[in-house]
């Protein structure tokens, strides 16, 4: 009898074992760029952009679900599948684009870290080397258990934004109404911000990350139902945090007509309006999110590029065994942190540009994903249903239109 006791306990544990890829991916999603965009949305437009979180959540869930499903069914990463099914050319250009985009993203993360530390009075010449060292140290010296714990704590720190939102004492009735009832402004900056929000929430590299995480966990199609819930839960948490950031800024900065340029301004401006603690919590959240993403982005990028190109990869390999892997990883961290050291480096445009690049790359990644997820040879009975395809295609078309709109408008400005 005891045998079955042990097995059923295991079964409960499986849920927690499988729970994970979705939640961690979701946490990384609200990175430095995301926090900046949501802050500006709240400060400049109050609660009027809240409605967009519902369609964004739907799109996020649908897209992440496909990535997770592909991982569970094929047992292969996205870069791997693209290489095997579309050949070297497509893979090479996609990986090159992913590398450049993620270099931009890494710069944005370190910029966010530097900005957050400046709020605490730490100069970037000190904070950046420390940040880069922590990232490097976690990868090279950290043990699995320690790093997992650090990540879980980091994920929990995102709730500082919930507290920040509560401290701003928002009118919850009005917030709820704005979430449900769309209120679209047709001016250019509003649309730009809308596109920015979509771009920062649904980033291309996350699809690669999530799919590999599902593969690494060894999740089988049979267990997939639980993973689906993990993904949905993760997406909802992402958007809850986004909502809290917008609410925190809307209830204070917007009410007092304070214009901000980024997350740092938001944190500083919060102090006189919502109190010192709301401001500090906001800054801690930004520092945490930036460093958390800076840990994962360069390493993840190095893995996917090597996976697609067929180069050896892995931090347990020596430099001689896996030169490309270490070059990519080192370049991302050195350039990412190093470029921000220059005092002339404009932090806000960098964060913005990295999101534009994300937005431009995303439609291509979506098209590859759609082709793969509907391939019977890879997915078998797990291909998209007809209705699902209609939903994903409409999202892709909207995303492509939004991206075109964004590219055109950023060229004009």
């Amino acid at each position: 009898m005891t045998l079955w006791k042990r097995l059923s306990r295991r079964k409960i544990l499986t849920f927690f074992a499988i729970l994970g890829p979705g939640i961690i991916t979701a946490s990384v999603d609200n990175d430095a760029g995301g926090i900046a965009t949501y802050s500006i949305a709240g400060a400049h437009y109050g609660y009027t952009l809240l409605w967009s979180l519902i369609p964004i959540s739907v799109a996020l869930i649908v897209i992440q679900e496909m990535a997770a499903r592909m991982g569970a069914v094929s047992g292969k990463g996205l870069a791997d599948l693209i290489r095997e099914n579309f050949g070297i050319r497509a893979t090479f250009y996609l990986m090159a684009a992913l590398f450049v985009t993620n270099l931009g993203n890494t710069m944005a993360e370190f910029a966010g870290w530097a900005a957050a530390m400046e709020i605490f009075g730490v100069k970037r010449y000190i904070s950046l080397p420390i940040g880069a060292f922590v990232v490097w140290w976690l990868v090279v010296k950290g043990t699995y258990k320690a790093v997992e714990k650090i990540f879980l704590v980091a994920s929990a720190i995102y709730f500082t934004y919930v507290v920040s939102a509560l401290l701003s004492r928002p009118p919850w009735g009005k917030v709820l109404q704005e979430v449900v009832v769309p209120e679209v402004h047709w001016d250019a900056p509003y649309l730009m911000l809308l596109i920015g929000m979509v771009g920062t929430t649904i980033a291309p590299w996350m699809q690669f990350y999530l799919q590999s995480a599902v593969v690494e966990k060894g999740i089988k199609p049979k267990d997939y139902q639980m993973t689906r819930w993990d993904v949905i839960l993760g997406c909802l948490v992402t958007d809850l945090v986004a909502l809290c950031i917008i609410v925190a800024c809307a209830g204070t900065l917007f009410k007092h007509h304070i214009r901000i340029e980024g997350a740092k301004d938001a944190a500083l401006a919060l102090a006189p309006l919502a109190g010192k603690y709301a401001s500090l919590l906001f800054a801690i959240g930004l520092a945490n999110a930036s460093l958390f993403s800076a840990c994962i982005l360069p390493l993840a990028t190095a893995y996917y590029v090597c996976e697609g190109m067929g180069w050896e990869g892995g931090v347990n390999k020596s430099f001689r065994e896996a030169p490309q892997f270490f070059w990519i990883y080192t370049l991302l961290i050195l350039f990412g942190a190093g470029s921000i050291l220059f005092p002339q480096m404009p932090l806000v445009p960098i964060m913005f540009l990295s999101q534009v690049m994300n937005g431009v790359l995303l439609p291509f990644v979506l098209l590859f994903m759609l082709a793969l997820v509907n391939n019977k040879e890879i997915m078998g009975e797990y291909v998209n249903s007809r209705g699902y395809n209609i939903v994903v295609w409409s999202i892709s078309v909207v995303m492509i239109l939004l991206t075109l709109l964004l590219s055109v408008s950023s060229f004009l400005s």
Binding site: R6, L7, G20, F92, G310, E312
Partner: protein
């Protein structure tokens, strides 16, 4: 010498001298050594149809142009042979195992050569040079220096692991894998997809498969077994060390674990059920039931004979335990004590009766501590009534302190 990637889109002419299409792929016969091309897949000029042209109807074969020995209308489609694989569609860009380098590599290009009028697959190019060549950037590699020279893996050292490979070809191909050390096979298998993992394990013989599974990542062990035919899976479980087998079983769904236990030999299954009853972090959970025990009445000579007969595993040979008819633990002596003892001496005369032992429910950390404190190679595990249940060997105790799984999983921590 040809490169598969370069042959794509080569113009194909028939006997009338007119271009009838372009080369799309090459069909190669995998079971043969250095697989020969048995047919060409030609994409006809109408861009709709393709034809498999048997090698016997090819007049000349060059990178620049291919001539057929008859008119295209007369060509009869080459039968889709069991062992035939499409070189570009099914091998290029895929992952294969390099048995010499003992790792998984990606096929950047395939090198072919003309041998006695046949075109044969000679080697796999895995260099970055091949990537640049295929991107049309070959000129760059000269500037980038010597590191980018072609790096070929001879075809005789290549193993196909794709799930699309027919069973016959897979068998031929995987025979080579069996010569590797199980730890190397496990490293390779960890990087494969689940169906490939099952296919490779299934092709190995039971003992190698069992050793390989023990070296694999814990998350993959149960998955691999559940993807296999139950009959084969239960055979492999029997070959595994009981403590490891119990760990894997505990990770499987109830019904599957029960099914596998029912398929196993009665005695092995009974042992496993007992092991599964203990919490996984207790002495009972990490102990093995493979141990040497002798009755109090035997002599040193008889004990040595028993060792010869049972051929115990390396980790369990160093200590012998003395038990009475009811399996009560009476004493212990080492292999050394046994060898230096007078052959006719009763084991009770040189055994140590004050045995350092642990209860089955003792925490694993405490077990590891005792083994370390007393410099033991193994420690016996008993129940409340002092019945000998099994032993915890030093290697399993080390795993408690420094789990191998973490070290192996570390490289990909950021994705879990």
């Amino acid at each position: 010498m040809f490169f598969a990637s370069r042959l794509q889109h080569t113009k194909v002419f028939d006997l009338s001298g007119r271009q009838v299409g372009t080369l799309q792929d090459l069909v190669v016969s995998i079971p043969q050594e250095y697989p020969p091309v048995t047919a060409l897949v030609v994409k006809l000029s109408d861009h709709k149809h393709k034809k498999r042209v048997p090698w016997s109807q090819v007049l000349s074969f060059e990178e620049s142009e291919i001539f057929l020995a008859c008119r295209i209308e007369q060509v009869e489609d080459h039968p889709q042979a069991e062992q035939g694989m499409w070189l570009i569609k099914e091998i290029l860009d895929k992952q294969i195992v390099d048995t010499e380098g003992r790792k998984l590599i990606r096929v950047q290009d395939v090198q072919l050569a003309r041998v006695n009028g046949n075109i044969r697959v000679m080697a796999v190019d895995i260099s970055t040079h091949a990537i640049l060549r295929r991107l049309g950037l070959g000129f760059l590699s000269k500037r980038l220096g010597a590191r980018l020279v072609p790096h070929f893996i001879d075809w005789s050292n290549v193993n196909l692991v794709s799930s699309k490979v027919s069973e016959v070809s897979l068998k031929v191909s995987l025979e080579k894998l069996g010569i590797l050390h199980p730890a190397d096979i496990a490293d390779i298998i960890n990087e494969l997809s689940p169906d490939q993992r099952a296919a490779v394990l299934q092709s190995l013989d039971h003992e190698v498969a069992a050793d390989t599974i023990e070296e694999m990542l814990p998350t993959h062990q149960a998955t691999a077994l559940s993807e296999m035919e139950s009959e084969k899976a239960s055979d492999i479980l029997e070959e595994m060390a009981p403590d490891n087998a119990a760990d894997v079983l505990a990770d499987l769904p109830q019904e599957k674990a029960q099914e596998l236990l029912n398929l196993m030999e009665k005695e092995d299954a009974h042992e496993l059920r007992q092991l599964l009853a203990y919490p996984e972090d207790s002495a009972g959970g990490i102990m093995t039931t493979d141990y040497m025990a002798v009755s109090a009445t035997v002599t040193a000579k008889e004990a040595i004979e028993k060792i010869r007969k049972e051929e115990p595993e390396a980790e369990t040979i160093y200590y012998l335990y003395v038990v009475d008819e009811e399996e009560h633990l009476l004493g212990v002596f080492s292999l050394r004590d046994l060898i230096v003892a007078n052959p006719d001496a009763k084991v009770t005369t040189f055994m140590i009766s004050n045995v350092i032992q642990v209860d089955a429910m003792t925490k694993q950390e405490e077990v590891a501590r005792l083994i370390g404190k007393y410099n033991l190679l193994a420690i016996p595990v008993v129940d409340k009534g002092n019945h000998l249940l099994g032993i915890v060997t030093v290697d399993d105790a080390i795993d408690v302190v420094i789990p191998t799984a973490w070290k192996k999983r570390f490289p990909r921590i950021y994705s879990s």
